[in-house]
């Protein structure tokens, strides 16, 4: 098998090729404003690096966000078109889950959250147990409110959180953008396509049908129904 994976839901454009056992090639570029320029050429680059051709691809995986919409859609439309044109299944994995899969090691056996930049002074977030299994989210909210919600849930009976401990551990850039609000930052800040590929390769190898590349938007489009036209004459 040859699985092509990519994520464009954060400032990182990350692309990887996976053969079912190993990541064959991986490239990540952090540039929030150039997703549209970077993705296709990064795909071309990993194929070249792995010595593979477009027709060797047997599955596609894409990070489905949540994340800033314009960048997110660059990845999702690319995944849909590649799936359709190559006739291969497409797997969608939440971007926060991809970050969590790598963050579990850094969390050292503790519960943690993943929080990424949702702009407008908000973060996208989800809460995970020590093994990286999602407990809450994904959701979008104001950092202080998110911290309050998490603290309450971590301290709940039966939770693995440590009341009185050093507080929340947070992967993703959320804790870096809002220092002192969202808890203690842990690695990684961005999703790695190699990890996304590993998660999706498992599904593909198990014969799971493609899940498609459905965006996790979490917000409605910003639009207001206008009132009556403004007067141009003085009444």
């Amino acid at each position: 098998m040859l699985l092509l994976a990519f994520d464009t839901a954060t400032p990182a454009v990350t692309v990887a090729l996976h053969d079912g056992a190993h990541v064959l090639a991986e490239t990540t570029t952090v540039d929030a404003r150039r997703h549209g320029e970077l993705l296709a050429s990064s795909i071309d680059a990993v194929l070249t690096e792995a010595g593979a051709g477009r027709l060797d691809i047997t599955a596609v995986a894409a990070g489905t966000g949540p994340g800033p919409y314009t960048g997110l859609r660059v990845g999702l439309v690319t995944a849909r078109v590649l799936g359709s044109a190559l006739g291969v299944p497409v797997y969608g994995v939440s971007t926060l889950d991809v970050i969590a899969a790598d963050a579990a090691a850094a969390a050292g056996g503790r519960e943690f959250i993943v929080a990424t930049d949702a702009r407008r002074r908000e973060v996208y977030w989800a809460r995970y147990d020590a093994t990286g299994r999602r407990l809450d989210g994904p959701a979008v909210g104001i950092p202080a409110d998110v911290a309050e919600t998490i603290a309450a849930r971590q301290d709940a009976p039966g939770s693995q959180g440590a009341p009185g401990g050093p507080g929340i551990l947070a992967a993703g850039t959320g804790a870096l953008l809002y220092p002192g609000v969202l808890g203690q930052p842990i690695e990684p800040s961005y999703p790695a396509a190699g990890t996304l590929a590993r998660l999706a390769a498992r599904q593909f190898a198990a014969g799971a049908p493609g899940t498609g590349a459905e965006p996790i938007y979490l917000r409605r489009p910003d639009a207001r129904v206008p009132g009556p036209p403004k007067r141009v004459t003085v009444p």
């Binding site: 549209g36 050429s41 314009t70 965006p215 489009p221 206008p226 004459t233």
Partner: protein, 345 residues
């Protein structure tokens, strides 16, 4: 022996609220599939960029599949992919550009990232054959009102004039709102105007006698609103048909006068009209009348090809392929303000 077929070009358009996928061979239109999100924007009284972009993501692959089915071809038959790189809404453009790159990658075929305005001119070749060069083009839509000199549709297009404020289509939308007509305003105003008197109200024609080839529609829009408000304030009913007809006459009068002026000033005797407002019946009729009087040959594609669509992008792509133009690179971006002088990016 049979003549070899011209290359098959897939064109993708997502600059505003239409997701277009078209298939063209040379000057032959094989399929033109358009999915519009206009109904989702209607209640907002204008195109909401994020609503349009979300709709593009959902409509993209189905639109291409429909075009392929209509043409009776498969993706394997496609020789090149063309896409609108700008001008337009950034988020909307990026969906199409990303999709086009993915098709190019998956099919191993060249990509041509092209200019939306030049595509509006090139589409006429699908109806009326090779474009005479040079030609003057009048492009009027909700986003653009421009006069262009096309010396070479594949490489040399120069701006001669443009609106200094609202686009003509924008004025239609705003006047429709004042009159209580739905969005987009073009079709309902055209419809109402049929029963009205175009000479009933003397609405202003801005920049009518100046020597520039620029337009201004903001004052006209305000003049209509003022007239309607005064009428209502006086407790009188608003003659919607007369207002629509008189407004439409003012728009068509200015557009066609300047288009003829552009032809004369440049010694060009071919005029092409494109863009959504080119579907307007009064603009088409007045342009025909004035071009005939001035000895100018008028070319206007049928209304379905004037509004945004993928066939126009494929038409320009086919022209570039035919002329062995160098394909775009995979790292080409979308440019919301792409100048018309950049036909191919």
């Amino acid at each position: 022996m049979t003549t070899p077929l011209a290359p098959l070009v897939l064109g993708i358009e997502t600059s505003c609220d239409e997701t277009g996928a078209g298939l063209v061979r040379g000057h032959e239109l094989l399929a033109d599939s358009v999915a519009s999100s206009v109904a989702e924007h209607a209640r907002f009284g204008g195109v909401v960029p994020e609503v349009a972009s979300r709709a593009h993501l959902e409509a993209m692959v189905p639109a291409v599949d429909r075009a392929l089915a209509t043409a009776g071809v498969t993706l394997a038959d496609v020789d090149a992919i063309a896409v609108t790189a700008g001008p337009g809404l950034t988020g909307a453009l990026l969906v199409g550009v990303s999709a086009a790159k993915a098709y190019a990658l998956a099919l191993g075929k060249p990509l041509y990232a092209v200019n939306h305005l030049a595509a509006h001119i090139a589409v006429d070749q699908l109806e009326h054959g090779a474009l005479p060069e040079p030609a003057i083009a009048l492009l009027v839509s909700g986003g653009h009102s421009s006069l262009l000199l096309a010396r070479d549709i594949a490489g040399d297009v120069q701006p001669l004039g443009a609106t200094i404020d609202d686009a003509a289509g924008e004025a239609y939308d705003k006047v429709a709102r004042v009159l209580g007509l739905p969005f987009p305003g073009g079709p309902p105003i055209d419809q109402e105007a049929r029963g009205g008197d175009p000479a009933a109200i003397a609405f202003p024609r801005a920049k009518y006698r100046d020597q520039t080839l620029d337009f201004s529609f903001s004052g006209l829009k305000t003049a209509v609103a003022r007239w309607v408000e005064d009428r209502r304030a006086a407790g009188a009913s608003v003659p919607v048909a007369d207002v629509a007809a008189s407004f439409q006459e003012a728009v068509a009068d200015v557009l066609t006068r300047k288009a003829v002026q552009a032809c004369r000033a440049n010694g060009v005797d071919h005029l092409v009209i494109g863009g959504g407002v080119a579907a307007n019946s009064r603009l088409r009729a007045l342009a025909a009348e004035r071009c005939e009087a001035a000895g100018i040959r008028l070319r206007v594609p049928r209304p379905g090809l004037c509004t945004d669509n993928g066939a126009m992008v494929a038409a320009l792509g086919a022209e570039l392929v035919a002329r062995d133009a160098k394909p775009s690179l995979l790292d080409v971006g979308a440019d919301s303000a792409l100048p018309v002088t950049s036909v191919l990016v």
